[in-house]
Amino acid sequence: MQHLAYFVALWVLLAGLYGVVTSRNYVHLVACVAVLQSATYIILLAAGFRTGGVPPIFYGVPVGTRTVDPVVQALMLTDIVVEATVAALLLSIAVQLHKASGTANPSELEALEG
């Protein structure tokens, strides 16, 4: 059952990558990148899950209680903050792109060929 989480992550990853590769709109592209983030979060959380574990709150519970790993949750939260910043930057670039060139379709912009 543990392995199912990794397959879900793989599926989400492939869906996000398909979206990025075939996207026709820059804003849609950034949303697909956000979907890719979710795949990495699923992998992180699956790595930290312990069957039968309680949330990692160490107040008022006896020593030796099985909890899930708090480190991966901290990694995930840090990563959410980092990727939120990057997504904001990407979206602002996408808006500027539309303002400067009148289109948000990657196929219609050819300034950087070759």
Binding site: A9, L13, L17, V20, V21, T22, S23, Y26, L29, V33, L36, Q37, A39, T40, I43, L44, A46, A47, V71, V72, L75, T78, D79, V82, E83, T85, V86, L89, L90, I93, A94, Q96, L97, A100, S101, P106, S107, L109, E110, A111, L112, E113, G114
Partner: protein, 600 residues
Amino acid sequence: MSLVPLPVAIPLGISFLLAGVHRHLSPAVSRPISAVVALANCLLCITLTAAAMNAPATYWLGGWTPRSGVALGIDFYVDPVAGVIAALASFLCFVGFIYSRFLENVGTLFDVLMLGFLAAMCGFAFSGDIFNMFVFFELMSAAAFALCGYKLEESSVTQGAFNFAITNTIGAFFGLMGIGLLYAKTGALNLAQMGAAIGTTPNVYVVTSFVLLITGFLVKSGSVPFHFWLADAHAVAPTPVCLLFSGVMVELGLYAVARIYWTVFDGAFSARRAPVMNTLLLIGVLSAVVGALMCFGQRNIKRLLAFSTISHVGLMTIGVAMLSSAGMAGFLLYVVGHGLVKGALFLNAGVLLDRFQSVDELELHSKGRRIPVCGILFAVAGIMLAGAPVSLTFLGEHAISGDTEHAGLGLLWLVFLFAEVITAGAVLRLTGRVFLGWGKKRPADAGARNIPEKRETTHRGRKSYGWMLVPQSCMLVAAFGCMFIPQLGETWQQGARFFVDRSSYYGTVMMNTAAIGPIPLERSSLTSSLFLSLLATALAIALAGLALSPLWPNKDSLLYRLASPVQVVRHLHSGHVGDYVAFLIFGIACLVAVLWLQIR
């Protein structure tokens, strides 16, 4: 008090301070402050490197030292290699600040971003915890995206910045997946602890996490087939930012690959090093060849230099791929030499942009006759790129070639020759065309379409032109002069030895034991490398002359049609971000397949 966290803390702190008061501060005040900070950072890193020559230093943030083999906190580890790369980053940042004095419409926020970029690069080089490396990597990337897209009004700039941002972010996600898998296997995030816990067999788990991790860093380093973003980003970024990208940011990606391998994965792969070596060699050779071929066909000078960076990074990858201390010593020498020379070339391109509002080689035909000193600098830098025995790159190439012969891969010198001749030939060709007026005016076979450039500098007449050449002259002099530093041989070899010694890394980080002392210097004869480098220089000059003469084949000739595979490769560089990501996925799949098939 330890000096180790200062190269990260000081630029970051000043960056926040400047961001807080940026509405009340003019660039005339913030730019000198930032330049002084960058210079101080450089001196600090050099001090740390000198101190680390006998024993690398570890600093546990917050005083959380490890207990009974478990790392509780995050550490910074400074050995000579990390110190030299951080010093190079700080120095190039300092030069960037000096040059950005000439830029117009660049406010205090530019300094904020540059200082943040510098702090992140130093933190990335020093970090001893893999997730901490990832966070600094993302900070470095975010600052780089913003700096690349600084001139937001042009659509080509935003497109280039967007391609850069999407490709690198997706690469970073793959790296994060590798971190997750590694954490699941080893239960640790500290590099030393992971290296001890990873086991001794390269099973599919280890191979997958290795490939995922190095993918993120190889995307950053612009290795084929993850390199498509590099040319776009360099073509549109402001000149001091290009200087930093080519000079140190892409090399940091390779540094991370080497660091991760030697601290974490060497235990698992030590019995089967050849597959890793072959895979990295394949990437290096491919990057060197593709980069060189693409470089020669460019007409936009900044794109030409970007592709030559890809090619030279391929050569550095060969040094890393040797998986030995001599290879790492050569890598370090090459990084410093290439950073200084390529930085000088980009600043020269900036001078051309300032004088003539164009970096298109065909458009600039014979216009450079009015600024001959710039032409001399271009020619000198081109000769240094060819690996002539006048710069650090020669010493780096000597170390790497010596090691490849040692390992029985002697034919790799052909790759070095090919890459150096073609990239230097391209630079010398453009020197001849722009500054001497050689070559046909506007030949029919045009390369990449001209990207219209807006003015980025303030025009202040003849006087400022002379001052604009000072930074790159100093860098070229430094690249030449560094060859003669008396402690040079010891620094590189000692640093490389510390870098590849996993048990001493574990001892220094986790158990606070002193590392191995200085080891006697190995001296090797320079004659064969001297011959090779002089041959490369002569061939580069000959190639440039041939390209400018009437003998060069035009579009209709048979020779041109024989080179059609190169045209196919060039069409793959479409500027479309979906294509780039498709190649990224394809590249990862190939890497996993190549590595796994060799290990089974």
